[in-house]
Structure formats: C-alpha cells, structure tokens
Symmetry: C2
Subunit: 225 residues, 2 copies
Amino acid sequence: MKHESFNESIEMYLKTVSELAAGNDLAPISALAERLGVSTVSATEMVHRLCEKGLLDHTPYKGVSLTEDGRRRAQRVIRRHRLWECFLVDYLNLPWEKVHDYACRLEHATDTAVTEALAAFLNNPQTCPHGNPIPSADGAVTAVRDTALSDLQPGDHGTITRIHPESELLLDYLAARHILPGQPLEFEELAPFNGPLMIKIDGETHALGQEIAAHIFTEPAHDTL
Amino acid sequence: MKHESFNESIEMYLKTVSELAAGNDLAPISALAERLGVSTVSATEMVHRLCEKGLLDHTPYKGVSLTEDGRRRAQRVIRRHRLWECFLVDYLNLPWEKVHDYACRLEHATDTAVTEALAAFLNNPQTCPHGNPIPSADGAVTAVRDTALSDLQPGDHGTITRIHPESELLLDYLAARHILPGQPLEFEELAPFNGPLMIKIDGETHALGQEIAAHIFTEPAHDTL
DNA sequence: TTAAGGTTTTAGGTAAGCCTTAAAATAAAC
DNA sequence: GTTTATTTTAAGGCTTACCTAAAACCTTAA
C-alpha cells in the first residue's frame, strides 16, 4: 500500500529524463520540472533523491542524465507504456490521440509478467501507435535515424515516422489534422522570422509552429532513385 | 501526480468494506484493518475521512458500511478488477491464481473509457475467473444465491460456484488442488471439534479448514430430480 | 455490577512529495 | 569584469497515510 505510489513518481521522473535527454545530452532540471508540472525546487529535491538511489547523474547547473540502472528502469516503463498503447488502439479501438494518457496510468501498475504476456499477445510489436520504438524486455532500444520536421528544408519531401515526445494536447491537435505516422508530407515553405512551417499533408497545407515541428519526425524521401 | 495514489487507498478501503459487509451487516474496523494490513488506528482515521466524504457510515463500536455513493464507487472498482482478471486469464493466459494480484494494481489505474472498451472487447462477461459476478457499468450487482461450503452438511453434493473473498495465498492453495469453480464436489464428513471438512473433488479427498470452507461457495445439487 | 475485552480517541512521530519565499552560487552574455 | 539570468540551497509548511503507546470508552458476560 506504500510501494505503488512510491514508484510512480520515480518512474515519471526517469521516463521524462529519458525523453528529454534523447540526444545523449543532459536534461536541464528546469525542463524536467516544467514537463512534470512541478516547481524547480521540488524537481531538484527529487533529483537528489534519485542520485542517491543511483538512478540519475547530476551535473550541477547543467542537467541530469540517467545512470545505466536508471536507463534500464526507464526503458521498462516505456516498454509497458507503448505496449498498452498498442493494445488500447488495436484491440479496444480507443482513439489514437487518447491512449497516451490512458497508458500513462497503466504503465505504473503493470507487473513484468503481465507486460511480457501482453507483448506476446500483441505479437511483439516494434512501435507504438505514435511510431515510437518499443524497447525490448531487457531494456535495449532500437536506434532510430529519422529527422525532426524542424530540421528539414523547404522543398523537402518525407514521410512521418513518429511523434515524440507525446502529449495529449499535441496528439489531439495532430489527430484533428490527420498528421499521423505513415503520412507523406511536403515542406512547402518556411515563414520568415521563426515563423511556422507550411506543410502539405493529405492534400491540405498546415502552418505548423517550430515547436510542434520539433515533435514530428520524418524519413526524408531521397531524390536519388 | 497526486490524484492517483490518493484514490488508491480510498478504493482499497471501499472495496474491502464491500467484501466484508457482503451480508449487509457492518464491517468491524478491526477486520478492515487486518485485511488491509494496517493498524486499527490508521483504519479508524481513514474511516473518519471517508465518512466526511460521504462514502462510509460509521456506527461507533459496531463497524462501517458503505453509503450509496461509496457502494457505487466500490462496485466500479470491482468491475474494473474482474474485467482485468478475465482479460489476463482468457487472452494473456496468465495463471488463474495469479491474476487477482495483477488486477489489484491495474484496477486503480484504469479510466472509465478503458474499462468500458475492455468490457465490450471481452463481450461483457458476467463473472470473473474465480466465479464472482461482475457489476454492471452503473454499479448494479447481480444477486448471487449460493451457499458457503462451510454451511453445507456432511453428505451434501454440490458444484463450486465461486471463491470469495479472494487472496493470492488462498487461490494458490486451491489451484494446486484443482478446487475451482465448476468442479463438482461431495462433502464426505466433518471432523469433530471444529475440525476440517473432508471434501471429495476431482477424485481426491481434501481436508479443508473451516476458514477456507467459508471462502468457497457452492450450488447444492438437489436430490429431487 | 463489575471486571475483562474490544473499540476508539488522543498525543506524538515518520516519510514521501509536493509547495513557497528568499538568499546564495554559478554561468552566460555583454 | 560586471550584469543578468539561471540554478541551487535553505527554511518553513502542507497533505496523505501510515506508525506506537497510552488513555478513555463501550459492551458483555460472569
């Protein structure tokens, strides 16, 4: 009766660090705090606790990163999360943009035995409905080599591979516009002064802000056939 | 980040009261405390909080019962619990005696939308794998009219209908002896001095203590054809 | 009717996770 | 090198849910 809620916060911190420190660099505590909806002071406290537990490394004034232990733990949570997302979409027919939040709750309440039985039931899917890779049971992650939409150049063509990191607000926005993994797109033009990217998807052109574009990953289409 | 664990304790208390007060009588706080693995002081404190919230009624020195609100809330948790059990057994092929504990964690992390989608996916099952009825979405419970094994007389025949209340220890014990819902049984004799019940199931005779017998419910076979 | 036994309250504590406000340390930018 | 912004510490608090120990209180049965 104490253990459960105990883990929950820890798991959220580890998962978030994992998301923020995707490029192997340090995740600033301020960013952590913001994503978790917590004051920077509280986040700093918690980071200390997690450092003591050997789950995080903290470089003062720079940010935090996961230790090997923390990484494995985070990957296990992410695995559970994405497997549940697959189930919720493919079997329960719940909406693509809602399952992230549902899975966020289930992920902390799922035994390893359940996780692995679920993986087998689902036939060991490789990605979640939002395109993100599902870590293997031992915590290994498939490296992805896609490009953020925000890193493409006007004129580029590509196909959406995944949305990352996910949040309900973002997914709602994207779902309403059919901006989903698998969709081909064309980067028509970039408005000046850090303006939006004009992106043609599914026959329509959308103005996407820089911030949103950084959450959309693509596989560029090669002009060379 | 606060709400989740918040609900968890409340839900466990309500669920437990519902289990203990099956016969419409009051559940003593001491029994509540024992089942929850908590001191009576803590249980008393929590009962006060739940009374203030209008979920429980407390008759001092007697025990507690659920208000209509509390009842509905408890039934909703139980519904989620039993639906998960069905899924875990029927689709993930997890062991009958283990799924109770797995479901105990999932039940507090499941949105209503997920619950109802799951119910539809499972084709609205009426009972959990341990034979207990699954409350309907609006909190209605099917009345069961079966008899505790401890209330049968030597010589009686019957069929096991359900195990209630469940606990992993009990389920492990029963699973190892094939004492499962659907099994026919014969009450051979009752040992004197509150001794065990000699019960013939699946070709073998088992000595079951009074306490265990109170957890096994049966549908007596009528001699009158 | 009184003593025994169970129940409840009171008092005093713990731990995790959060909060705020304010001051100090450091990094970055000019 | 000074200013500005960010980070970290420090101090004091809150809530939930648990604990022990001791006192007060009901109920019941001898």
